[in-house]
Structure formats: structure tokens, C-alpha cells
Amino acid sequence: MNGFFDIPSDLQNTWTGLIGMHLREALLPVAAGLLLALPLALLCDRFRWLYPPVLGLTTILYAVPSLAFFVVLIDYTGQTELTVMIPLALYSLVVLVPAIADGVRSVPDETLSAATAMGFGPVRRYLQVQLPIAAPAIIAGLRVATASSISLVSVGALIGNQGALGNLMAAGLKYDRPELAANAVLTTALLAVLCDVALVALRRVLTPWMPRSGRERTAAPHEELLTKGAAR
């Protein structure tokens, strides 16, 4: 364990500092992705024809490697955190749009009709009925997006040390100190697990209305989405 937390000075950061940077670079894009995905999913719900092209486009975006994004963006945003975060936000968007859209679509027709008949307008209905009922599906999407984002931040090490814990991994290679690489990998994994646990807890808090056993009555996480996230 000698030198496990002995961070090389050229990283200009402490271990905890790297963790903070890593979380910021990973979670802000997820939040941005969520903010963009919510209205986009509403549009996909209102105009059904919009959903297939949106899904197609986002899937193509997902297929673009992050390095390619960095190369394009670096001309505009330079070697900054923003260059790392923009592709990550796009990837989150790709995961979250179908998660929200499918979750929202899983709300039973009679629930929607009842809401409309009681005088809910489209926006109120989306915010007060569809989104809360889609919460389990949305959180399932957030779990995939968060885990993938936390792992992808490390790639930022390739563009001017913007990879947070990825920088530590690169330093391990550079100085031939495998313990630093191990530190980076373990810490990243720990962060991913902790964030996941937090999201599961959030779902519990948000959905006291779900049967505790047998969740067939509510929106199921999008299978295809989970496999897609895992493949990345």
C-alpha cells in the first residue's frame, strides 16, 4: 500500500480533489442530459411520429466514440472540463430520452383519459401524472447514464489532464506506479457503486406507491437500454 495515496505533484490535486472533479465531470452532464431529455420526451409523447427519428438520431450519436467528439470540440472549447462534459451530456441524453419516453408511455390509457377528463392540461398532466408514474423507469435510465458517465470521465485524461481519476491512471502508467492505477480503478468503481446506491434509495423515497414485491404493475426499466449501456 506504499504510496497508494501519494499523488504525483504534476496532477496539481489531492485524492479527494480528484474525486470531487470526477463527480462534477460525471454528474453535471447527467443532470444536463436529464434537463434536455424531459421536454424532448414530452414532445415525443405528444407527437408520436417524432419518437422513431429521435430514437434513431440519439442511437447514432451514441455510436460516435468519445474521442472523436473531443477532437471536434477541442477547437471550440479547448482543453477544458467542458470538452469532456459535452459528449457525456449527449450520451446521457441518449440513454434518458428513451427511458423517459417509454416510462411516460407505460402510463395506462385510462389514467391519462381520467386526468384529461378532470381538466389537466398537457403540461400539468405530464408533470403531475406521467413523470411521477414514470419515475422508476427514469431512475433506471439515470442509473445507466450515471454509471456510464462515471467510467467515461477517465477518457478526459487524453485531453490536457481533464480526466480526474483518469489522470491518476495515466500518471500510474507514466511513472510506472501500478498502485496509482489500482487506486484510480478502485475509486472510480466505488464512486459508481455509491451513486447507484443513492439512486436506488431515491427511487424508494419517490415511489412509496409501488408494490414492494412484484413490480409488474409499474414501468419496467427498458431492457434494450440496459444492454446498450452495459455494452459501452
Partner: protein, 377 residues
């Protein structure tokens, strides 16, 4: 009053869901729209609260065109009950019921009190208020649906196949409950169903629609059963409409006889004096025990089937009792279950003929038909 005036709904692809439909829906009564699937009944209902906009024609609510009213105001003044209840699964029962009051700006406390009051009214236990919909049975959820629709005390209630997803026993309970509620509240209810029995049971007026959204007949249920407008309505009413029509005739005019009713401890001379082939034996309290064949020994009693209550039950119930009884005689009881007399199928048949003659002087064919089916039943 809701007045539907030559309303047509045509979809862009050319399908006509509702075709020049005109109906006058009276206040404070249950008007049922019934018909096979694709007859436009739900579309018609949804045009009343503008969830569907008509292509042609107008719908007037108390003389005012619904098209000219703000859609949210219109809807908040009309309760809506849907199949499977359509409850908000993420809200508690009390919050579900309080939805419209809260939207109308009622305070939390007042809305909660109103929810509690309505739960009691529709027969839900107060302890369910904090529960979530998944914790309730289908029948309970449907009661919540009715309570939610009544929450802001709207004058109009639109009900779209509200009871069709629950089992027959629960459905009957909910229908009884609706009739009881309607007695108390006197709403203008428009009720959609594909079940003709439900329509006849609940409706003050029944509109039978046929495929393509055309009105086949609009009449009170008794008239529908006695005078179907055409072959379609007759077919839709089913083979036993003669029997079902009897539901609308009271049994209180039936002539009961007590000659054949004997207590279990009656002396032998009393039994010997009876001329009927069967004797109805009662216990000491006067409740029926069973039929005894004349001349047989006293231990072997035949089941007396199900008794009916004169005045409370219809002629249909009385006839059913007689048909079910192995002796062909129906047993009449009072509220305490004590025998008030017995009546034969023949006497019931005469009462049916009399009722038909009374209901429609020129009906020549119907009573005979009723007789035929009585034998078949």
C-alpha cells in the same frame, strides 16, 4: 339538460364514429348509451366533455354550446368515471379523490375533509385514505373512481363502462351502490356500457346505438323490452327479453293462497283437509321448511327453492321462484322470512298477462311469448 343535436364525428381516414346523432338527456336521471363495440358510444360520451370534438352538430349543456366554454372549466364541472378506475397510482386514495377540489383551489384541509366524506358515501372504510391504489381490490378502486368524480359536486357525471372490468358479483354491488347514490344525489348521469342487462338495470332512458354510430332506439327500458324498434334492437336485447321485461312489473298484485301452508306440528285432520297435491310445511316461527307431497310421510320434504317478497321483488323474481320450485309453486315471505302464502305458475302467468294488457292494450303476441319462455326457463 344535455342536448345532442345531429352530431357527427368523422375521422380524417373517413370512418364515421357517430352519425347524425340527436338525443335529449334529461336532468337528474341515468341515461345509458348501449351498443356493440364500434357503435360510437364512448365517442359520444367524450364529445360531451370535449375530449373528442364533433365534426358536425352541437352539444348543448343547459342551453349553452359546450364548444363555447373553456375546456378545463367544462371538464371540472363534469365528473368522469372510466373502466379500471384510471386512478393515479402514485397518489393516495384521499389525494386521488381530492384531485379536482385541489385544482379548483380548495385548501388542503377542506379537500381532505371532502375526500373523507365521499369515501364514506361510496362505502369505503376511512382507514383506506392513506393507502395507494395497488393496495385496493378492483371493486374498491372503482368506488374511489366514483368518489373522485363526485369530489367537486359536479351536476353531470359521465361514466364510461365503469363496471365492466370487475367480476359479476362486485359489479352488481357497484350497480346497486350507484342507484342508491343517485337516489341521494340526483346527478345527470350519462352511462356507457356494452352490457344490455346493465343498461336495463340502471337506465331511466336507454339509447341503443348500432355500428357506424347511428341511433337505433331511444326509450325507457320497459318500452325497449316490449317494443323493440327493429330486428337489430330485438337481437341486441337477447332471446329472453320477455322474461327480463317482467323485472318492471311488481309482484304485489299476485293472489297468494295460504290453504296449502301448514305448520310442522299441525294435526293430521288439518293435513287431510288440504286438497292441493303439495303442502308447504313451516317451522314454529312460520318460516318455510319444505314441500311435502300429499299422502307421503312427514319426514321427506322437497326443497322450496328461493322465496320471493311480494311488492319488493318483481314478477320476474316470483316466476323464477316458481320455476325453481320442484312443485311449480313459488313461496312468498315477508321481511322476517315468514311465509305469507304460496302462488302457482299458472297464477303468475295470469298476472303476467294482466300486466301486459295493462301496459299495452294492443299487445297480442307478447304474453304468449312470455309463457313459452317460462316453460323453457
Amino acid at each position: 339538460m344535455i342536448r345532442i343535436d345531429s352530431v357527427t364525428k368523422r375521422y380524417p381516414d373517413g370512418t364515421v364514429a357517430v352519425d347524425r346523432l340527436s338525443l335529449e338527456i334529461p336532468d337528474r336521471s341515468i341515461t345509458v348509451l348501449v351498443g356493440p363495440s364500434g357503435c360510437g358510444k364512448t365517442t359520444t360520451l367524450r364529445m360531451i366533455n370535449r375530449m373528442v370534438e364533433p365534426t358536425e352538430g352541437t352539444i348543448l349543456l343547459d342551453g349553452e354550446d359546450v364548444q363555447h366554454q373553456p375546456v378545463t372549466t367544462l371538464r371540472r364541472n363534469m365528473g368522469y368515471v372510466i373502466q379500471n378506475a384510471g386512478l393515479f397510482q402514485h397518489r393516495t386514495i384521499a389525494d386521488n379523490i381530492a384531485t379536482v377540489p385541489r385544482m379548483l383551489g380548495w385548501g388542503k384541509q377542506r379537500a381532505r375533509e371532502r375526500a373523507a366524506e365521499l369515501m364514506e358515501r361510496v362505502g369505503l372504510d376511512a382507514s383506506l385514505a392513506r393507502r395507494y391504489p395497488y393496495q385496493l381490490s378492483g371493486g374498491q378502486q372503482q368506488r374511489v373512481g366514483v368518489a373522485r368524480a363526485l369530489a367537486a359536486d359536479p351536476p353531470v357525471l359521465l361514466m364510461d363502462e365503469p363496471f365492466s372490468a370487475v367480476d359479476p358479483v362486485v359489479r352488481k354491488g357497484l350497480q346497486d351502490e350507484l342507484l342508491r347514490l343517485q337516489d341521494e344525489l340526483g346527478k345527470t348521469i350519462v352511462f356507457v356500457t356494452h352490457d344490455i342487462d346493465e343498461a336495463i338495470r340502471l337506465g331511466t332512458m336507454v339509447a341503443v346505438l348500432r355500428e357506424g354510430g347511428r341511433l337505433a332506439q331511444y326509450a325507457p327500458p320497459a318500452e325497449l323490452l316490449s317494443n323493440p324498434a327493429d330486428a337489430f334492437v330485438e337481437d341486441f336485447l337477447g332471446a329472453d327479453r320477455g322474461i327480463r321485461r317482467l323485472s318492471f312489473y311488481t309482484s304485489d298484485a299476485l293472489e297468494l293462497t295460504t290453504d296449502a301452508v301448514v305448520p310442522a306440528d299441525a294435526p293430521a285432520e288439518r293435513l287431510a283437509a288440504v286438497e292441493a297435491p303439495y303442502l308447504l310445511v313451516t317451522d314454529v316461527d312460520g318460516r318455510p321448511r319444505g314441500w311435502r307431497e300429499r299422502g307421503s310421510d312427514g319426514d321427506r320434504l322437497l326443497s322450496y327453492g328461493r322465496p320471493f317478497r311480494p311488492g319488493v321483488d318483481s314478477l320476474r323474481a316470483a316466476l323464477d321462484c316458481a320455476v325453481l320450485s320442484p312443485t311449480g309453486w313459488a313461496v312468498a315471505v315477508d321481511a322476517d322470512g315468514k311465509v305469507t302464502g304460496v302462488v302457482s305458475q299458472q297464477t303468475i302467468g295470469e298476472a303476467i298477462r294482466a300486466a301486459h294488457t295493462h301496459a299495452e292494450p294492443d299487445a297480442g303476441e307478447d304474453p304468449a311469448r312470455g309463457e313459452d319462455e317460462k316453460v323453457a326457463g
